[in-house]
């Protein structure tokens, strides 16, 4: 009699031709961007925020308002596509696409299972950090091309903020790279799940425990990169209307909106790969030793684990977003340059010393 595990191993070990694998990976990438975005919008933006404010949130469309998102998308798609008369039409139209493309490029390095990856990129972390900085271009383009003072100010604020917070983000990740001895995200997952803390391997070694400072800095930097409260100075509605998005309406605004929450989801995925052990479960549980001994069913369980961890991290991101008031522009810059960057440099120094000594 074949056990369920053996059966699934045989069922899943199918040979897919190269073009089929590529097609699957592209489709998977699209799902991996849009599914978290939709889930985050419904669960956190519609429901959790409403509960935190003692109201029910959307209840009409579908059971518990679960189809509200479909209604919203329908609404945005029928709205008029307004182009300001003095705007720079081509740049104005390209800007939201640049932002969304940077999100899609970002998800390309996130592994979801032993074989369920999109690209197994040697310099994965480095690539993710490089690509995430592309969205600044789109935001600057949007701010400038709108021919609107509020938009331009919002775009400039966003650029200044993203430049300032990209540094602590990169520096926080370096701690993880030192500890894992690799930049490949798949290898970082393996390093965490095969690792042990003082010889105890029942938990693996998720870097949230050993790189806690790095995790906190990374999450703060993510919050700032997403231009969300308390770092939402670039779109501060009480002074800048809506910042660089002021002139956007209809489906172009929809692209910005999807981009915002998709990026939140992808950053949550990257955070869970870097700090929470990614798709893996501690390999000691099943006696796995390396990537080749991992059972094939992890290709199905892995994405589920990833989505669970993603929801956990996204919950923290949104919780902070709905709880804290906005930083002032000078406070925001001072916090990045005078607190986060020195702290992350100290974290790198401490991690390297531990790495060499131990």
């Amino acid at each position: 009699m074949i056990s369920a595990v053996q059966l699934s191993a045989e069922v899943l070990a199918v040979e897919v031709p190269y073009w089929g694998q590529s097609l699957l990976r592209v489709l998977g990438g699209i799902v991996a961007v849009l599914l978290p975005a939709g889930t985050i919008v419904y669960v956190f933006l519609f429901k959790m925020m409403s509960f935190m404010q003692s109201r029910l949130g959307p209840m009409e469309a579908g059971p518990y308002g679960s189809l509200q998102l479909v209604a919203e998308v329908g609404k945005w798609l029928q709205k008029e596509d307004i182009l300001p008369t003095r705007a720079d039409a081509r740049v104005f139209k390209m800007a939201p696409i640049v932002v969304l493309v940077s999100t899609f490029l970002l998800v390309a390095v996130v592994p979801f299972g032993p074989d369920a990856w999109f690209t197994n990129f040697e310099a994965g972390v480095f690539y993710a950090l490089a690509v995430s900085s592309l969205s600044v271009l789109g935001i600057l383009m949007a701010g400038w091309a709108s021919a609107n003072k509020y938009s331009l100010l919002g775009g400039l604020r966003a650029a200044g903020q993203l430049i300032a917070y990209e540094l602590p983000m990169v520096l926080a990740v370096i701690g993880v790279i030192i500890q894992a001895e690799t930049m490949n995200l798949q290898q970082i997952v393996l390093a965490q799940n095969t690792g042990s803390i003082f010889g105890f391997d029942g938990l693996g070694n998720p870097y949230v425990l050993t790189q806690f400072v790095g995790f906190i800095i990374f999450m703060i930097a993510v919050q700032a990169e997403l231009t969300q409260a308390p770092f939402d100075m670039p779109i501060a509605e009480s002074e800048l209307v809506s910042g660089y998005m002021t002139e956007y309406s209809g489906f172009r605004f929809l692209i910005f909106f999807i981009g915002e929450f998709a990026t939140a989801g992808v950053f949550a995925l990257i955070a869970s790969v870097l700090f929470l052990g990614g798709w893996g479960i501690p390999f000691a549980w099943f006696g796995w030793t390396d990537i080749d001994s991992v059972a094939n069913w992890m290709n199905l369980v892995g994405p589920v684990i990833m989505i669970t961890k993603m929801m956990l991290v996204a919950f923290i991101i949104m919780w902070v977003r709905f709880s804290y008031p906005r930083f002032r522009e000078d406070q925001l810059q001072r916090f990045a340059w005078k607190v986060l960057i020195p702290l992350s440099l100290a974290n790198i120094a401490a991690t390297s010393i531990f790495k060499v000594v131990m």
Binding site: F121, E122, F126, A130, V131, S133, L134, L140, I163
Partner: protein, 170 residues
């Protein structure tokens, strides 16, 4: 057959990207708007990154994106938008001596072409060319090339301190 040897995927990719880069580079100098010029420059620089990927130099490609597109171009745009970035065409954007640039560019191109051809000639990449891993690059940087790396770091440090000294008025 000559054509069949050239028509491999890498060569076609190279040709398409190179064409895009040339168009972008021409638009950088011919466009009448500062921000448009900067955005066309982004096209050229990302084309260079794509060429590095075709050459199996992933790390260099990512560095190109991070440094040139993520940092340098963003600072360019940031600076021009803070100071002068009107929408629409500007008339006084071209330097009156712009024609002098054409022979200079031609000489530069010729010099680089001669240098490339004379130093590599008919040499070809090994058939089993592979992606150089990041670990190997770091072994090189922090091994044989440690001294030049340090020298570069000092130059950058001096530039940073110089920028602070220039920017501080008090």
């Amino acid at each position: 057959m000559f054509a069949a040897e050239l028509l491999v995927a890498q060569n076609i990719g190279f040709a398409v990207i190179a064409l895009l880069m040339i168009i972008g580079a021409l638009r950088v100098v011919t466009t009448n708007n500062v921000v448009h010029a900067a955005l066309w420059l982004v096209v050229v620089l990302s084309g260079a990154a794509a060429q590095y990927v075709l050459l199996a130099a992933e790390f260099v490609a990512v560095t190109q994106v991070l440094v040139y597109i993520g940092a340098v171009m963003v600072l360019f745009l940031f600076g021009t938008m803070l100071t002068r970035a009107r929408i629409g065409a500007e008339r006084d954007l071209n330097n009156p001596y712009w024609r002098l640039g054409i022979p200079v560019a031609g000489v530069l191109f010729a010099a680089m072409a001669i240098a490339t051809v004379s130093s590599f000639g008919d040499e070809q990449l090994p058939a089993d060319a592979r992606v150089v891993s990041v670990a190997e690059i770091s072994d090189q940087i922090f091994g044989p090339y440690l001294l030049p790396f340090w020298a570069l770091s000092f130059v950058l440090l001096a530039a940073i301190i110089g920028a602070i000294v220039l920017a501080r008025k008090d």
